[in-house]
Symmetry: C2
């Protein structure tokens, strides 16, 4: 399980990069790779898109040029294209990059393109891990006590107990790989923290986790306010609730930011007050910077799939590359398999101890 440097040991390329996806692509993607090349000098990127345009952009980005190989793709999946339509465009930069992952030329893909299309293509072309029932969408966000992983954020609107347990295993692997935690704590999102709360689904998932080798780090049920409080490192929930919770939290923070902006421009003293408090406010802004948390991952597939926010800049895209590189370097899928093993290995112990 020793790390083998930042380049993947088993594929020619660490990552395939969809150079044409995103509002400011390909410039933002290339800016991101220029930063990424500095942080991951041993990585090799397969840069997919309009060859002529990308070649010209690489000419002014020396570091990126050193770590990138170009592959031409004549088409682009537009942001509003339906996933079913995207599936039919075989020459898109997204598709060609995903094909490289499926062919094991690259260990993963990063794209700032159409989310629905990326998820559908990845599921169909890269395919789900045989050990996993359904892939999940995960992301990292800020909390009062450090970064928190949450999943599923919308890949599955309906989930059963088994899905939730697998999400816990994958979330644990993700927190180990990307947050570098050795023993991430796990919580199952529910409407109350008592054992009898919620529906059959969450109660059954909780029982399975409690009785497994994860029991030690499983903190049982957590509630909505525990997300921002950072009560646990990994928050597990179904895709419907997770999607709503993520967007509700983001919406609340956005409202607060908008109101603060109003406060600090409402009078001359308030403007002066803002200037005086600015260094501290800037630290707060930096801490909450969405670019730091850029990179939602579709996990549970035969390869690393990272979705960068479509509107991000080079700094944000580089963060998405960081997430993908962490997953490749730390052999994320091997960790999932280990986790699934811990789940079943422990079952006999739990059976013996059960009432």
């Amino acid at each position: 399980m020793a790390d083998t440097g930042t380049a993947s040991a088993t594929t020619p390329f660490s990552l395939a990069v969809d150079a044409m996806g995103g509002d400011h692509a390909p410039e933002s993607v290339l800016d991101g790779l220029e930063l990424a090349a500095e942080r991951h000098p041993h990585a090799r990127f397969l840069l997919v898109g309009d060859e002529a345009r990308l070649g010209a952009l690489l000419a002014t980005r020396k570091r990126a040029a050193k770590v990138c190989s170009l592959r031409h793709a004549p088409e682009v999946v537009s942001g509003d294209l339906k996933p079913t339509a995207a599936l039919r465009i075989r020459g898109s930069s997204m598709r060609v990059a995903i094909d490289a992952v499926a062919a094991r030329e690259a260990a993963g893909i990063v794209s700032a393109g159409n989310t629905g299309a990326l998820m559908a293509l990845a599921k169909i072309v890269v395919k789900t891990l045989p050990e996993i029932d359904r892939p999940a969408l995960a992301a990292i966000g800020p909390s009062a006590r450090g970064d928190v992983v949450m999943l599923d954020l919308g890949a599955n609107v309906q989930c059963d107990a088994r899905n939730l347990v697998e999400f816990a295993v994958m979330g644990d692997a993700f927190a180990r790989s990307v947050l570098g935690l050795t023993r991430p704590t796990i919580g199952l999102l529910n409407v109350g923290s008592e054992e009898l709360k919620g529906d059959e689904r969450v109660r059954q998932a909780a029982e399975t986790l409690r009785d497994s080798a994860f029991g030690e780090n499983f903190r049982g049920f957590v509630e909505g306010h525990d997300i921002a409080a950072g009560t646990v490192d990994v928050i597990v929930t179904d895709g419907f609730t997770g999607n709503v919770a993520l967007k509700t939290g983001e919406g609340a923070l956005k409202l607060m930011r908008d109101l603060l902006r109003q406060v600090f421009t409402s009078s001359i003293p308030a403007r002066v007050g803002y200037l005086l408090a600015r260094p501290a406010l800037d630290r707060l802004r930096e801490w909450m910077d969405p670019r730091r948390y850029n990179g939602a991952v579709l996990i549970g597939l035969n390869g690393v799939v990272v979705k960068s926010h479509g509107g991000t800049d080079g700094t944000g895209f580089a963060h998405a590359v960081d997430v993908a590189m962490d997953m490749v370097t730390h052999r994320f899928n091997d960790r999932i398999r280990e986790g699934l093993g811990r789940l079943s290995e422990a079952a006999p112990r739990a059976d013996a101890a059960s009432r």
Copy 2:
């Protein structure tokens, strides 16, 4: 449908008040009634609890004394008591107050006591409206565009399409009665705003609402960020998602408040900055004051049931009384019945116009 003043036309008392429930009861309750008496001089309250103690407190609260009648209840439902245990205490202030609603002595109840016990007692003693399948928990919160009603906040962890439709009808009646809106807009919480998003349940509920007389004010699917944005007046969702969303939003705002406190105490200039911006920041704080939004309601029962936050003070309790009085005055349950009528009346029209 004309209002008949603030006293109920059909019951001797406008509201029964559980005087002993809540962290600071009975003082906070009496303080609240002193304020409420000023705002609702024609209301009559049945004050239930320890007669001797309440009598002494009323002696120093002249306004409350004028509008309150005392009824003795020797016991109190403690905050940590299980609902099943609370059901067995027939002499509790909560139970005696609820009994008064069931006996049609009072049009509703306000309690700051044990939420689970109040919900269970209300459902069993006051009973669900015959036209409604399941009662729901609703509350009002702040948004960028004014107050927003959200339900269900946790009364039902599992809901079908019919439940969601009934929640929409009840939420509409609530927004009319308490927010004073004549045509509240309604949105169904989902993981995306496109018609094909989500599960069968939300799609079916959306179709029913769209094809009914509510169609005009039904805005279709909304997402988590629409809650704080105030995109619609009434947000409808199942109790699991609603509970998580509410607590997630509250958690995010709390985190932001805590961080701002840190910012403004982090340096001398920041402290001075705070003092300069303080009037505007105080307006923001006042706008978000949880006491202004105190009063979650269990709706769909044969009487008005309002739960005040347990830790609130007199100002907060008075707000919960305001909510209950608005519901009594505006004959909330009649509005639900009207809404259910609009749901079915419109069905033939929708059939005629359907593809």
